[in-house]
């Protein structure tokens, strides 16, 4: 018990160790968290009338962000596959940071769902046993299961690896091996189930296309790794963690393939919708060309398409892929492109035209934007704090005390040899 408390304080102290930049960063994030919190308090008191959502477009920016972040979380698997199955060493060492990103992204997903709820105090109604979870009929119930399961799997793997490292021991693959294997199909499942959530609704022809789940996965495998590439460079610069260039270039190459598939699937969908031109194609026409003079999403969608195509070429050629300036431009383009395409570009046109043919142009309110930025700041803060523990443990700077001093010393002397 004593060592546990002591270790807790060893870990807790980490939050307060940092230079000026760290404190500024935390203050910066806290500012946006507070702004978001005040906007949410107002929303909680007055209801979702503070948003631009209405009966015609009943989901908006919050669910868009949720969808995008499920993709980011799923992409952690992209690192796990080559790392463990093919034993690609340069990536293996950094999988941990990907898993922590998955934990962060899922936490943000849960926050986005909570702020979107009309009655957040009743959230327990969705749980099994104490609530009345509508499993297996409701896809939203499936999503609760797979997302929380994914959070648990990644949380356990990350915690176990960090714990073993922190007491100066190598982690045992026989313990987490099965979990890692499980996490691969599970990552695919969280994005597939989220796609099916939309896909299963025959009321919304835009979503009711079988290509939706494959497109979800392809775009997730672009945006998630792109975020990681940027994070890896920051981690590498600001700590002693050594991340091999080969790992970064390998991931960039994988993004190129994923983007190729993503663009191909987009083209396949666009062909079917525009060439056959039935009544079900109104939504995609609204998205790319506007309907009846209503064009609010059109510039965004063309921008996203251009960004994705540009990024594809940047990642495709080794010359631009292995140049950090063009690599980072590519990453930013992919993140923005997929954020538009898999966010507002996916959710809003599902509701336009609405079930009775009305075109309601949705554009988020200031309050919605503040709450959204607040949750992004929460996510950034969570990841920062997770790294605050993970990085020093990983580099061997932070070690916990163990009960068995004798054994600890042996482990230490082993390391010394």
């Amino acid at each position: 018990m004593g060592t546990l408390i002591k270790n807790f304080f060893i870990a807790f102290r980490q939050i307060f160790i940092g230079n000026r930049a760290y404190y500024l960063w935390v203050a910066f994030l806290s500012f946006f968290i507070l702004l978001g919190l005040s906007a949410y308090t107002d929303q909680f008191n007055r209801g979702l009338i503070t948003t631009a959502m209405r009966d015609q477009v009943s989901w908006g920016l919050f669910i868009s962000n949720f969808t995008f972040l499920v993709g980011v979380a799923a992409a952690a698997v992209l690192l796990v596959v080559p790392a463990y199955l093919y034993n690609f060493k340069p990536i293996k060492e950094i999988v941990l940071f990907g898993e922590l990103l998955a934990v962060t992204a899922i936490t943000m997903c849960i926050l986005f769902i909570l702020v979107d709820m009309g009655q957040p105090m009743r959230v327990w109604h969705i749980l099994p046993f104490i609530g009345a979870m509508h499993f297996p009929a409701s896809l939203l119930a499936w999503d609760v299961v797979v997302l929380n399961g994914y959070l648990a799997i990644n949380g356990i793997i990350a915690f176990y690896v960090l714990y073993r490292l922190s007491i100066g021991k190598e982690y045992s693959m026989s313990v987490i091996g099965p979990l890692i294997i499980l996490s691969i199909p599970w990552a695919v499942s969280i994005h597939t189930v989220t796609a099916f959530l939309y896909n299963g609704l025959s009321a919304r022809p835009f979503w009711n296309a079988s290509i939706l789940a494959p497109r979800f996965l392809a775009s997730a495998f672009c945006s998630g790794p792109a975020i990681m590439l940027i994070l890896f460079q920051i981690i590498r610069k600001r700590s002693e963690v050594d991340i091999d260039n080969r790992a970064i270039f390998k991931i960039a190459e994988l993004i190129a393939y994923a983007m190729a598939i993503n663009l191909f699937l987009l083209g396949a969908e666009a062909f079917k919708e525009f060439y056959s031109g039935g009544v079900d194609s109104y939504s995609i026409r609204y998205l790319y060309f506007g309907l009846h003079g209503k064009t609010s999403l059109v510039p965004w969608m063309w921008a996203a398409t251009l960004m994705n195509i540009t990024a594809f070429f940047l990642f495709l050629f080794p010359k631009t892929r292995e140049n950090f300036t063009t690599l980072n431009i590519g990453c930013v383009l992919v993140i923005m492109g997929v954020y538009i395409e898999k966010g507002m570009g996916l959710v809003v046109p599902g509701f336009v035209p609405d079930a009775l043919g009305e075109i309601y142009e949705y554009s988020p309110t200031r309050s919605e934007i503040l709450v959204t930025m607040g949750i992004w700041a929460c996510g950034a803060l969570l990841y920062t704090l997770l790294l605050k523990f993970a990085v020093p443990i990983y580099t061997g700077k932070l070690r916990f005390e163990t009960k068995d001093k004798e054994r600890y010393r042996t482990a230490g002397s082993h390391a010394g040899h």
Binding site: G47, G118, Q119, L139, L197, A203, Y282, P353, A355, L356
Partner: protein, 308 residues
């Protein structure tokens, strides 16, 4: 040694009472303890209506009546009339008669206690130009506003909950807060709905409406005759919908929209009764149902009784 144990116990107890205090404190922030009696807790831990026994239902209805009286300063009766055995409600709408006057829309709002600010209406009347295609509804206008109806060159089609036999909204709901009653009416438990709005995405008829704000309606305009699953006053952040006026039809009355229609375009009755008016219409008129290709199997039939 004895002293040590005592001390240890003391610390143990202290921590426990501290935890208790902390838990109460957290709960106190989350739920307004000062204002209310046990009723806030009762409301919070209320079960799904469909899972309650009669005694529990009675208790809940009494509590709701108390709450409404406190809130609106008028007596509101909350009933829970059960489905009549052997009844499956069906609706018929004669498009050849409808003139688009929207009296059904306002009669519905008066009867069913919808919010007036922000405005919630369970019936949407769509106006179409004659001679243009209308199957995809995309050329319809919900906000037409002429001096007089019927308008030359236009026809109108009211749309409300189609009370599907295979309702996509019920399947979508993650908390089973909405279900189909034995008489075929799809209802919402406003005390169980979490306000996720997945049902609204799933509904092909735009029949579900959300309380984006606290429902705004003058207390003197409230209809005090209500049903738990129907027109009782709603809360902010929950979904609501047409219930075929469950509070009326289970007592043998017509829905408010049927009574309000000045041209007799609206028919209502028991689909299981071969002699009912609705059965006559289905068997003798040219009948169709909205978006039949989705296999939702609505119990809302549009038909053309005559001519033009």
């Amino acid at each position: 040694m004895g002293k040590f144990t005592k001390k240890k116990d003391g610390i143990h107890l202290d921590r426990r009472s501290f935890l208790k205090g902390a838990a109460l404190g957290v709960a106190g922030i989350a739920l307004p303890l000062h204002k209310a009696d046990a009723s806030v807790w009762e409301a919070f831990f209320q079960k799904r209506f469909i899972e309650m026994n009669d005694a529990e239902k009675k208790q809940v209805l009494a509590r709701l009546e108390r709450e409404y009286e406190e809130k609106y300063k008028i007596a509101i009766k909350v009933g829970d009339e059960k489905a009549i055995p052997g009844v499956l409600f069906g609706y018929g709408l004669d498009l050849s008669r409808c003139i688009g006057c929207r009296r059904c829309v306002y009669a519905c709002v008066e009867e069913n206690n919808q919010s007036k600010d922000p405005q919630i209406q369970w019936i949407s009347v769509l106006r179409f130009k004659k001679g243009e295609k209308w199957v995809d509804l995309e050329n319809s206008d919900r906000y037409y506003n002429p001096e007089l109806v019927p308008e030359e060159g236009y026809f109108t089609m009211p749309v409300q909950c189609q009370q599907c036999e295979n309702p996509p909204c019920v399947r979508a709901c993650p908390t089973q807060a909405t279900w189909k009653e034995p008489d075929g009416i799809v209802v919402v438990d406003y005390n169980w709905c979490i306000g996720c709005r997945y049902c609204m995405a799933a509904c092909p008829y735009g029949a579900r409406h959300f309380n984006w704000a606290e429902p705004g309606r003058k207390p003197e305009e409230l209809n005090p005759e209500t049903h738990y699953l129907g027109n009782r006053p709603r809360y902010k952040g929950v979904v609501e919908k047409c219930t075929f006026c469950i509070q009326r039809t289970r007592k043998g009355l017509y829905p408010a929209c049927v009574e309000a229609c000045p041209v007799g375009a609206r028919k209502f009755g028991n689909l299981l009764d071969p002699n009912s008016e609705i059965r006559y219409a289905i068997e003798h008129k040219r009948v169709f149902r909205l978006k039949e290709d989705l296999n939702t199997n609505p119990k809302f039939y549009y038909f053309f009784a005559y001519g033009t």
